[in-house]
C-alpha cells in the first residue's frame, strides 16, 4: 500500500475558478485540472520568489515533494497553453491554512477566529493549549 498523502498547506485558495483561452482556432472543450497545491507552489516560488526549501516548509512538505508539485504545475500550465486547453482549479490534497488548537486539559480541539482576542481554550478557558499541525 502506498504511503498516505500528507496534506499540503495552502495559505489562500486561488481567487479564480479557471482560465480560458480566447481567439483560438478550434475551440475544444477540453480542460486541465490544476490542483490548489500546484497553484500554491507556483505562487510561492515564482510570485513570492521563495526557494524550494523555504516554500516546502511553508506548505508543510519535504523539498523533493515540493519540487514534484511545482514541476507538475509548470507542465500542466505549459500543456494547457500549447494544446489550447482551459485550466480549472480543483481542490486536490490541500489543507487550507486554518489554525486548530488543542487543549491539554479537556482535549477539545478548536479554532480561534481573528475577531477573538483571547488566546485560551474555548471550553475550559485554560491557557494550556497548543497549535495542531497538519492533521485535522
Amino acid at each position: 500500500m502506498p504511503r498516505r498523502r500528507r496534506l499540503r498547506k495552502v495559505i489562500a485558495p486561488p481567487g479564480f475558478k479557471g482560465y480560458k483561452p480566447y481567439g483560438a482556432n478550434h475551440s475544444k472543450n477540453e480542460f486541465i485540472e490544476l490542483l490548489y497545491e500546484e497553484y500554491e507552489a507556483i505562487k510561492l516560488s515564482d510570485y513570492d520568489f521563495m526557494n524550494h526549501e523555504t516554500a516546502a516548509k511553508v506548505m508543510g512538505i519535504s523539498r523533493p515533494t515540493f519540487a514534484r508539485i511545482y514541476e507538475s504545475a509548470r507542465r500542466k500550465i505549459a500543456k494547457a497553453m500549447v494544446e489550447v486547453k482551459e485550466i480549472r482549479t480543483v481542490y486536490g490534497n490541500a489543507l487550507l491554512d486554518k489554525n486548530w488548537y488543542e487543549c491539554h486539559v479537556c482535549n477539545a480541539r478548536f479554532t480561534i477566529p481573528k475577531t477573538q482576542n483571547k488566546h485560551c481554550c474555548a471550553i475550559c478557558s485554560s491557557i494550556n493549549i497548543n497549535l495542531l499541525k497538519n492533521d485535522i
Partner: protein
Amino acid sequence: MKTIITSSGNITTAVFDKRFGRAAWFCIYDDQTGEAEFIENVNLNASNGAGTKAAEKAIELNVKKIISGDFGPKAKELLDKFEIQMVILQDDNLTIENIINKLKN
C-alpha cells in the same frame, strides 16, 4: 455570546451529537442570560448540503461558537469565513448539561 451545541434531543439532559449538519437538534446557549433554547434541525435527512445549511443557520442566528464532533470541509470553510469559532469534542458520553457547565467555569 451565543453558542450552538449539537444535540440528540431537545432537553439539556440529552446526549451531545457528534455530527454537525445531521445532528437532530441544535441547542443555542446564551452565556449572558444562561438560557438554553432548542431548535430542530430541518436538514437532518437532506441528501446533500446539510453541513452548509446548518452553517448558514448559525450565521443567521449570529452564533459565535459551535461545539460539535466534526465539521465537513464546506461547513469549515463557511464558518471560517464568518469567523465563527469551531470546537471539536471527542468524548461522546457528554450531555448538553455537562457541556454548558464546562462553559460556565
